[in-house]
Amino acid sequence: MRRHALAVGFFGAAALTPLVIHDGFFLDSLVLILMWGAVSGAWNVAGGYAGQVSLGHSAFFGIGAYSAALMATRLHASPWLGMLAGAVVATAAGLVIGYLSNRLKGPYFALATIAFSQVLLIVASRWRAFTAGSEGVPVPFRPGFWTLGFASKVSWVYLVLCLALAIYLVQVYLERSRIGYQLAGVREDEDAAQALGIPSRRLKVRAIAASAALTSVCGTLWAQYVGFVDPFYVFSVDLSVRFALNAIIGGVGTAMGPFVGSLLITSLETTLRAVFSDIRGGLVGIYLIIYGCLLIVVVRLIPQGLVGWFGQRIRAARRYARA
């Protein structure tokens, strides 16, 4: 239980908040914190546990967003089916990109994934007949659970909370299970892992595919929540960086890291947006400047992230108390 104290506190607080606070802006921030935490958790499956640091995860997010939006507008299909379709397409895309970039490491892998997301961006913004081009796709609002249309923010909080919890549990599984230990082995020393008979290539591809599918599910929910899919946003490099950023600030390869990172970064963003939106549009960029600087400082001073850093402090304090 002690291992999960942080998670219980975090998700418990998120579940109780809508009972106490009814302010729309606050609940919106909460949905976004959970949402971005969940996507970063999905990124963490490949980037943290498998060590495949991708800067093109917006590709999978966009696939999820587009699948549901296009199926809802063209076929009048339920977003749940769109979510499933998106996850299938994203898994396939993850398998392909994972297989192709299998030998690539570090910056090369990051570059390949950026290029992949850019290809999807160009296709989505130029192939007008299929995607409606650079104008984007408005997601129709049809009230009801089966059509994923909730007017109340409270329903969204609980829906996204379920998603966040599921992704948290996937990560916990990766910390405890055989496959998780094998992935850690591959991440730390691929040659040694292979020498021990771990099928490192297959594992990496699977981790990327699983991460892609989860990211795509988040993309679908995000599109349904926001109500609009803009190709230049959902496939942007900035978005991919954001997924990685939350996990890095919170702690790469820790199950709670992405959520802690998202709590910090997303609340910083919504606060600064609220403060600066009254003054001048361009000033919204200030939070991104802070982002960038924070990223430089955090990877330099605490590369293990906040969760990792506090974990070390707590263990050190316990050792001291025992001695």
């Binding site: 030998r103 690539l104 570090g106 850019q118 361009g282 990877v299």
Partner: protein
């Protein structure tokens, strides 16, 4: 095939500019072993320098080069001291996210200071048509190519014949051995980074009359520069020149055949293909070895 001279000369002109951007990137990688994800942002700053000096004082972009070279060299020194120096021996991930953070910060500094509007620099050269072998180009393109070529050649000469250049090449070959020979590698890294940034800053000034200026303008060029650099082999300067010609050729011929809307798809697919099948580049091996590909 009346279009042939136009296509060929376009390729060469464009290739010259891409070469200058890519040479700076590959120099930084070859010597520091750091992939600079913020490279495009310095290009963007160069474009803004040209834009503002043209709008405020009516200074022609090509005269501003006199200021741009020392200015970007100094920016390079400053960024090295503040940001890069601490991560030069860190892991890949730390290096990637440091330069990604730098890129995000710089893009948004530009956004906050100068808004996201698309801006244009239109000096008189842009409206002068030059005819080469029956193909038509505007004078800005020709000047940009000539100056880029001059800078690239100057850099090659510097690397080959000066003492500092020799020291830099030695460090690129084997940093540890260079340290043992009494080379102050920290100074070499600083110099390499500053020269790389100066190159890309100059390239930014040169391309400003040809492309629109906006805070994320660097992104399209930096992705392209990576295509060039990976094609030529990361860290290989001669390879970067050939890579620049290949990418320019793909872009020019691709937009002639498929229309300019799809040219980016062509070189990204080319990029992924090269990464997958020849990650060490078409000719090189050196950079790739260091990354354990």
């Amino acid at each position: 095939m009346t279009a042939l001279p136009q296509l060929l000369i376009s390729t060469v002109l464009l290739g010259g500019i891409y070469a200058l951007i890519a040479v700076g990137l590959t120099l930084i990688f070859g010597i520091m072993r750091v992939v600079n994800f913020a490279h495009g942002e310095f290009l963007m700053l160069g474009m803004y320098l040209a834009f503002w000096s043209f709008t405020w004082w009516g200074v022609d972009p090509y005269f501003i080069l006199v200021v741009a070279v020392p200015l970007f060299f100094a920016i390079g020194l400053g960024v090295y001291a503040l940001v890069m120096r601490g991560v030069i021996h860190a892991s890949h991930n730390v290096q990637i996210f440091t330069t990604v953070g730098l890129s995000t910060a710089l893009q948004n500094v530009a956004l906050v200071l100068w808004t996201g509007d698309f801006r244009f620099v239109r000096p008189w050269e842009s409206s002068v048509v030059v005819r080469i072998l029956g193909a038509a180009f505007n004078l800005s393109q020709v000047i940009a190519f000539a100056v880029a070529l001059l800078f690239t050649l100057a850099l090659f000469a510097f690397m080959k014949w000066t003492h500092a250049g020799r020291v830099m090449r030695a460090t690129a070959q084997d940093g540890e051995a260079a340290t043992l020979m009494g080379i102050n590698t920290d100074r070499v890294y600083r110099l390499a980074f500053a020269i790389g940034i100066a190159c890309v800053g100059v390239a930014g000034v040169l391309v400003s009359p040809l492309y629109s200026v906006y805070p994320t303008a660097g992104l399209q060029f930096v992705l392209l520069a990576y295509v060039v650099v990976v094609l030529g082999g990361l860290g290989d300067m001669v390879g970067a020149l050939l890579g620049a010609l290949i990418v320019a050729g793909v872009e020019v011929i691709g937009s002639y055949v498929f229309g300019s809307a799809w040219k980016e798809v062509i070189y990204f697919v080319l990029f992924i293909a090269v990464l997958v099948f020849r990650p060490a580049g078409l000719f090189g091996q050196r950079g790739a070895e260091a990354l354990g590909v």
